[in-house]
Symmetry: D2
Subunit: 278 residues, 4 copies
């Protein structure tokens, strides 16, 4: 008995659920959980089906034949995903990820951490994880990104997590890992795009600050949003108090977003996501 997840993403038409679940039934695969969504405007159908049973090779083939030929279909063996984490200087997000790696309470292991500074090496190595310093100094952005790519590619990670990596990536880098780079942005996007969002928030006098986890695309801070959350602030908060308060919400949002992504609960369409939270 094995457990796998079937992810279906195709143009909508009638009878899709019946066809897929019918074939599951025929192959005596038990449906543990089935979640679906139709994006009406785009006429697109998304379904996540958790299956249990003995999978034979004919099953996936028959699913493919039953669905429109533009369908994207994946049958995923649930297993721990491999991450490479990129950092700059801040500790709260990577610290949290290292603890979770150590506790094995989430669905990932960290293969390596890459920093453009050296200050998080000590913490990372406490947990027995390799830390690579790839300094941006004296390099063009293109050269720097290529150096990082070399390190990443040595680990073949499933996802690359930007845990407060504070430099802009090149299109070449981004296109090398499509839909596989996850960033935590320190504002409630699309408010306060760009640098120093807490200073922007302080100057605007907002009463709430937030954080956003999103996939990285070539358009800075504009990739598909996976999760967001906020906390209340008031006039007592300086920009630096906001930054400190924001740390909690940043690591929480990154944590939730990773949970969804690593459990294969996220579909991307256009510049948006479908997130089957349950």
């Amino acid at each position: 008995m094995e457990r796998k997840i079937l992810l279906t993403d195709c143009p909508d038409e009638t009878g899709l659920i019946a066809r897929v679940t019918g074939i599951c039934s025929k192959y005596k695969l038990n449906i543990i959980k089935n979640t679906e969504f139709v994006a009406n405007q785009q006429q697109r159908f998304f379904m996540r089906t958790v299956l249990e049973g003995d999978f034979c090779s004919g099953f996936l083939q028959e699913i493919r034949e039953a669905l429109p030929k533009e369908a994207s279909i994946r049958l995923i063996t649930t297993s721990r995903k491999k991450l490479v984490v990129m950092v700059t200087k801040e500790m709260h997000c990577i610290g949290d990820l290292l603890l979770k790696h150590y506790a094995q309470t989430m669905n990932f292991e960290i293969s390596a951490v890459i920093g453009n500074y050296d200050n998080l090496r000590e913490l990372t190595e406490k947990f027995g994880i390799p830390f690579h310093t790839v300094s941006h100094e004296n390099l063009t952005r293109e050269e720097h990104c290529r150096e990082i790519m070399k390190v990443i590619d040595g680990y073949s990670p499933d996802y690359i997590v930007l845990a407060k990596y504070m430099r802009i990536l090149t299109p070449e880098f981004i296109n090398a890992y499509p839909n596989r780079i996850i960033n935590i942005h320190h504002s409630f996007l699309p408010a306060f795009i760009g640098a120093k969002p807490y200073e922007q928030a302080y100057n605007r006098g907002v009463k709430i600050i937030g954080a956003t986890a999103h996939f990285v695309t070539e358009h800075l801070d504009e990739g598909p949003i996976i999760d967001q959350d906020v906390i209340k602030v008031d006039h007592n908060f300086t920009a630096s108090d906001m930054a400190e308060a924001g740390r909690d919400i940043e690591r929480m949002v990154l944590d939730h977003a990773l949970n969804y992504v690593l459990d294969d609960k996220v579909f991307i369409y256009g510049n948006k996501t479908v997130v089957f939270r349950n």
Copy 2:
């Protein structure tokens, strides 16, 4: 073309989704939305299927035959539900319901309001809705409840909403409307069961207060919970400040719970609910 909702509640076994959606497909009914849940501990299966198409009489029959014979199956025509609302003296919940009745933004109409005092008559009648005063004075609880039942039964409502009705109902009353009485309780149940929850909360020095919407059963404050929410308080709040702050959360929670119930998104099993929020 009609839209109906098929609600399936039965012992779990393999192939249920395939069977139901297969029959929908056979009858050319388009599935607009399908949500399912299996309560593993109870081995019970729940599914809500929103269908569009031409419904013929054979459809429901075929569904019944395909499912275990203990299954509870309902095919519901979506339509505005009829409510009778019971009140005592507080205005915030009934006021909100009256506005929503008037605005027609929710899925209900209020057939009548029943109060054990007269003070909400004026407000109710502004909206052209009959108000019945059924005083509890000089009556036993049993007599009083029977008087109210007579009024209710004149309207044949789908649901009875206790919008801050502050008296205990008799088992006879409760059993006359099984799974059809919805109460808003002014605490985060199971904390502060019984009378004066805000005073209890003040005395305990809690930092959060809440509200709970639940179905009414014979066990006071212990029926299946539909929705709950909270707000933060602090040492500045007296018991009466808490009560005032609680009003907002009470009407919000009642509003959300009604939305779920009236859209046929709620299943009851044992003393719990399945709420398909989406």
Copy 3:
């Protein structure tokens, strides 16, 4: 025995609290509550002092003499504030305000409602409040605003509340009521400035939507923020579902902001507010 609120707003220097509270003590005024804040960057001091006792004329004079001469000092008799509410077509915010006027649970009465359409007249008049239709048709923006100002000025309100008034006001209008116009904006500002914020939010694929209450200045959607709040949404929400879900949060945020303003808990400085919530 009377209760008054002393509001102090002046350049910061040492000894301000001692001076003010010392004079209160000398005049045998009991301090019920004292809240202060120093905006360090601006070196500005704000204090709200709730006093009880017999107020004689010398008191305020002595306070003035004890503080820097640029100080803005107000001694306010707590009383119900008078509002004129402006609306367009949406009912949820004005409905809520009308109920609160009727229930007398908040610190205001509504003197009149002004709409550029007629559809909210019936609801307003149920509560015995005059409704003025001032259509914008066939008028320039300047002419239309002047017509509204004439109606407003007939009531001498303390504040003007834009309860989903959907047209832009002229600088002349705004400058006629400085720091006295409160707007509820249907987004989490500064995200989604301008028209159709829910459509913008839908298109961006955000996972949270919000509302913002702010004072109105000449710069559209950029006045000092009084309060903000949010609710979670997901891929199931269309733009119109978001708008509907947003209604709850809009009226809550407006309600909270009004509470703060009408209880004289809000100071404005630069483009920001100090809100003494307690």
Copy 4:
């Protein structure tokens, strides 16, 4: 120039703020922040005054003489507090505290960790902090608590933090550290007092779960509450899913409560707290 915090806790009477701030002014101490609260029912006055300047010995003496003789007055030099943390087997709270100790972003250092099992030794020692295993096996509760007290007393900590320490403490232990033991309880107290709160929550079918940080008194789960928070759950959550989701809120609430306590923002009166969050 030094910064100190003056904490005043005394029976309420008129003129207290004026007296205290007047003496501060006389001694040329600048008030950076002043927060006060009167518990009307108990007629008790609480004030926290952050002062900057040169403190001479006469100052505190003069404050004492100016206040009722039952007053509790403390003048605190702000400095990093020393904690001993007690654990059983769960890692999320202690992991978070260890990271914060390492990052030095909060106002504490961890002197030692004491566990009744050995499994958190490895993690603790990664951070260079001594770990003491004090097994409860073959000991009475009294003997076990005394063993722990011996270890604690070797460190003279300011506070003892129960970071998921799952055993009941003796009155002797509790009375040895009055108002200095902080516990994180895995439910929204007073709901689900006692063992297995997540199982209780699951069985009750609640839609929200929470956590509570409180001072420990002889009455189990009934000490003064410092902070509470909640997250939403639904029918999809098993008891163990709730426990997992609860971890996030547990460490957040403990973190916030510690922040308040270590910044000397918390007063205890009766079985309640005053928490000056700002």
